[in-house]
C-alpha cells in the first residue's frame, strides 16, 4: 500500500514539472501533504497518541492545509501573475525530472541499504533533487518557496525511510523551525512584492561585487 502511495507521490512530481499555473502548484503541494499522511500512517511503528498527533500535525495540518492557504493568500494579496514562468520549456522540465527520477532509482539500487526500503529511499532522494530543480528553473520567488517545500517533503520521506528515531522534543523543534521559516519566507515575498512591484529573481540583482 505504501508503495502505491509513493508512486502517486512520484506522479505529482512529474505533474509539477509541466504545471503552468501557480495554483496548480499549490494544489499539488496539498495532494503531496495528504499522500505523505497516508505513507506516514502506514509506516508508524507503534500506535501511540504522540506519534499520531505529530504525523497528523506535520502532514495534514501544516503541509496540506495551513501552508497552501498561506501561499494562496500571498499570491492574491500581491497580485502575482498566475503563470509559473519557468526558464526552461515544460517539455525539457519533464525530461529533466524524469532523468532525475531514473537516476535516483538507479543510484539507490546500487547502494547496500541493509534492511531498509530502497523505494522509500529513492523517492526521497528524487524528491529532494526535483525540489532543487524547481528552485533553479523557475523565475518567481513564490515558486522558490514551493520548491523549498518540495525539498522538505523529500526530507520527510527520507526520515520515514531512515526510521528517524529522534526524541519527540527534537522532532517537534524541527517541525516548528521549518514552519516558521516558511512563514518568514512568505512575509518577505510580501515585502518584495510591495517594494519591487514584481517578485521575481531578476529584481534581486543590486548586491554584487
Amino acid at each position: 500500500m505504501a508503495d502505491v502511495l509513493l508512486v502517486v507521490f512520484l506522479i505529482t512530481l512529474l505533474y509539477i514539472g509541466i504545471a503552468n499555473r501557480l495554483f496548480t502548484y499549490i494544489n499539488i503541494l496539498t495532494i503531496q501533504g495528504i499522500v505523505l499522511f497516508g505513507v506516514a500512517y502506514i509506516q508508524l511503528h507503534e500506535m501511540n497518541w504522540s506519534n499520531l498527533l505529530f504525523v497528523l500535525m506535520e502532514t495534514l495540518i501544516f503541509k496540506a492545509a495551513v501552508i497552501p492557504l498561506f501561499l494562496k493568500s500571498i499570491i492574491r494579496k500581491n497580485k502575482i501573475t498566475r503563470e509559473a514562468e519557468p526558464f526552461v520549456p515544460n517539455f525539457v522540465s519533464l525530461l529533466i525530472i524524469t532523468l532525475l527520477l531514473v537516476g535516483s532509482f538507479l543510484g539507490a539500487g546500487s547502494i547496500d541499504m541493509g534492511d531498509r526500503d530502497v523505494v522509500f529511499f529513492a523517492v526521497a532522494v528524487s524528491t529532494v533533487f526535483v525540489g532543487l530543480f524547481i528552485i533553479i528553473s523557475r523565475k518567481k520567488l513564490i515558486t522558490h518557496v514551493m520548491g523549498y517545500l518540495v525539498v522538505e517533503n523529500g526530507i520527510f520521506v527520507l526520515s520515514l525511510a531512515v526510521g528517524n528515531e529522534m526524541p519527540m522534543m527534537v522532532n517537534s523543534g524541527i517541525l516548528l523551525d521549518i514552519f516558521v521559516s516558511i512563514l518568514v519566507l512568505g512575509i518577505f515575498v510580501n515585502k518584495i512584492g510591495d517594494v519591487f512591484k514584481e517578485s521575481d529573481v531578476e529584481q534581486l540583482s543590486r548586491l554584487r561585487d
Binding site: I111, D112, G114, R116, V128, L132, I135, L141, H144, Y148, V151, E152, I155, L158, S159, V162, G163, N164, E165, M166, P167, V170, N171, G173, I174, D177, I178, V180, S181, V184, L185, F188, K191, I192, V195, F196, Q203, L204, R206, L207, D209
Partner: protein, 463 residues
C-alpha cells in the same frame, strides 16, 4: 538551567516589543547582559563541554559592546520606536539561539538552533527597510533555509550509520566514543551534507555568498555579531561533526574535504577582496578568509586543532572591533564605498587609530595574536608536508593583505571625492570598546591566560 535561560531570553525578546522609551531599552539590554553572564558563569562552573563554553564566553564578551553600539546606533539614526523594539528583540533572541548552538549536545538540537539563528537574524538584516536590505534578507533567509535543509539530510544519513552500529543515542559524546564502529559509507555521505549545509553559517566555500550580502546590509553592531559569533556557530557545528569522523577510518578523507573547501574559501576571498568596493563587504570576505585558514588548521590535525580554535577566537575580537569602528565611519560619511570616502585620520583620530591597529591585527602582523595562530597553522602544514599548498595560500594571503591595505590606508589618508558631511564627530567613548577588543586579541594571542590554555587543551584532547 538551560531551559530557564531560554525562557528568560524569550520573555525579554517579547518584552522589548512593548517598550515605549529608550531608557527602558537600556534597562532591557542591561538585564539581558546580566542574564547572559549569569548563564555563562553557570556554564563555566558546570565545566561540561570546553568547546561550547569557550565560544559562549566569546559571545558573552562580544554581546556587551554589541548591545552598547546597538543602542548608540539606534539613537543616532533616530529609527522609529517600533523598529528599535524589533531590532533589540531579535538581537536578544539571536544571541540566545547562538548560545544554544554552542551548547547543544545532540545532533538534532544543533540543527534546530542553527535554523533558529537564521530566523532570528533576518529582522536584523532587514533593519534599514531599503530595497538592498530586502534583497540581502531574502537571499540570506532562502539560501540558509535550503542549506540547513541539506544539512538535515546529512543528519538523517548519519542516523543510518548510527542505527547500523546499534546505537540509539544521538548525543555528541556517545557518537565520538563509538565513532570507529560507524559505517564509513553513510558517515561519509552524512558528513558531506552536514558540512556543506553548515558552511552557510561558517562562511566557507560553497555557501558563503548569502552571508556576505547579509553582513553588508545589516547595521554594523549586528553585522559584527553575524561576522563573528554566527561564523563561530558554523565552525563549532562543523568541528563537532569533524571530531566524530576523524576517529573513524574515513578521517583522512574528511580532512581532504575540509582542505579543499578551506583553500577554495581563501582563494575566493582573495579574488573578491580585490574587486569589492564596499568596506563592509571587504570585512565580510576577510571573514571567509580567516574561517578558511582555521579550517586548514582543522584539516592538518595536531597543532592545527589548537591553532584553528585559537584563530577563530582571536579573529572574533579583531573582526568585531573593525565592524564597530565602521559603524562610526558609515555614520560620518553616510557611505561605506571605497571610492567616496577618505581622510579619516583627520576626521576622527581615535577611530583612525583603531583602524590602523585593526589592520595590523587582521592581517596577522606581529604583535597581533592572529600572527601566533596563523604561524602555527603554517607550521602544521609544513609538518604534514603540504609545502606547495602552503606557498599558494601564502601568495593568496599576500593579495589579501594588499587589498586590505589599499582600502584601509586609502580610507585613513587619501582625500575623498565626496565632501565630508557636517555631522557631530563621534566621542572617544565610542572607540573604547574597540581598543579593549584589539587589546584582548593581542594579549590572548601573545600571552594566553591560563584559563584559555586550559580550555584549548581540553578541546584538542577531545579530538
Amino acid at each position: 538551567m538551560m531551559i530557564v535561560y531560554f525562557a528568560v531570553v524569550l520573555l525579554l525578546g517579547g518584552a522589548f516589543m512593548f517598550m515605549r522609551r529608550s531608557c527602558s531599552h537600556r534597562i532591557g539590554t542591561g538585564v539581558f547582559l546580566v542574564v547572559q553572564w549569569a548563564f555563562t558563569a553557570h556554564e563555566i562552573w558546570r565545566n561540561d563541554d570546553a568547546l561550547g563554553t569557550l565560544f559562549l564566553v566569546i559571545l558573552s564578551l562580544l554581546a556587551i559592546p554589541a548591545c552598547y553600539h546597538s543602542l548608540v546606533y539606534l539613537e543616532k539614526n533616530n529609527a522609529p520606536m517600533r523598529i528599535r523594539n524589533l531590532y533589540l528583540s531579535t538581537l536578544t533572541l539571536f544571541c540566545g539561539a547562538m548560545s544554544g548552538v554552542y551548547l547543544a549536545n545532540h545532533i538534532g538540537m544543533t540543527w534546530i538552533f542553527i535554523e533558529l539563528t537564521t530566523i532570528t537574524s533576518c529582522m536584523l538584516i532587514y533593519h534599514h527597510r531599503s530595497a538592498e536590505s530586502l534583497e540581502a534578507t531574502w537571499k540570506y533567509v532562502f539560501v540558509c533555509s535550503v542549506s540547513v535543509a541539506i544539512s538535515f539530510i546529512g543528519v538523517l544519513f548519519l542516523s543510518i550509520a548510527v542505527t547500523k552500529a546499534g546505537l540509539e543515542d544521538f548525543t555528541y559524546p556517545t557518537l565520538t566514543s563509538h565513532a570507529a564502529e560507524l559505517d564509513p559509507f553513510w558517515l561519509k555521505v552524512g558528513f558531506l551534507f552536514l558540512f556543506s549545509g553548515y558552511t552557510v553559517k561558517a562562511g566557507l566555500f560553497p555557501m558563503f555568498t548569502a552571508g556576505v550580502d547579509a553582513k553588508d546590509q545589516a547595521p554594523t553592531p549586528a553585522a559584527a555579531m553575524l561576522a563573528t559569533c554566527l561564523c563561530n556557530c558554523g565552525f563549532v557545528a562543523i568541528f563537532r561533526i569533524f571530531r566524530i569522523i576523524i576517529r573513524n577510518e574515513t578521517g583522512a578523507w574528511a580532512q581532504k574535504v575540509l582542505l579543499i573547501s578551506a583553500v577554495l574559501s581563501v582563494a575566493i576571498a582573495a579574488y573578491y577582496m580585490v574587486r569589492t568596493k564596499g568596506y563592509k563587504r571587504l570585512l565580510a570576505y576577510s571573514g571567509v578568509e580567516h574561517i578558511g585558514l582555521a579550517t586548514i588548521g582543522l584539516a592538518m590535525g595536531g597543532t592545527g586543532y589548537y591553532a584553528a580554535v585559537l584563530h577563530v577566537v582571536l579573529h572574533s575580537f579583531v573582526k568585531s572591533a573593525l565592524f564597530f569602528q565602521f559603524g562610526q565611519v558609515s555614520y560620518l560619511y553616510k557611505s561605506v564605498n571605497r571610492r567616496d570616502i577618505g581622510n579619516y585620520f583627520r576626521v576622527n583620530v581615535w577611530g583612525g587609530l583603531v583602524l590602523l591597529i585593526g589592520f595590523f591585527c587582521i592581517t596577522a602582523m606581529p604583535p597581533s595574536g592572529l600572527f601566533v595562530s596563523e604561524s602555527l597553522i603554517f607550521l602544521s602544514m609544513i609538518r604534514q608536508q603540504h609545502i606547495a599548498l602552503m606557498v599558494i595560500v601564502m601568495l593568496l594571503l599576500t593579495v589579501i593583505i594588499w587589498s586590505l591595505g589599499r582600502s584601509i590606508f586609502g580610507l585613513l589618508f587619501s582625500f575623498p571625492r565626496m565632501e565630508i558631511p557636517d555631522v557631530k564627530r563621534p566621542p572617544v567613548a565610542e572607540s573604547v570598546s574597540q581598543y579593549v577588543l584589539l587589546g584582548l586579541a593581542i594579549w590572548w594571542g601573545v600571552y594566553p591566560p591560563d584559563m584559555l590554555v586550559r580550555y584549548l587543551t581540553a578541546i584538542i584532547s577531545g579530538v
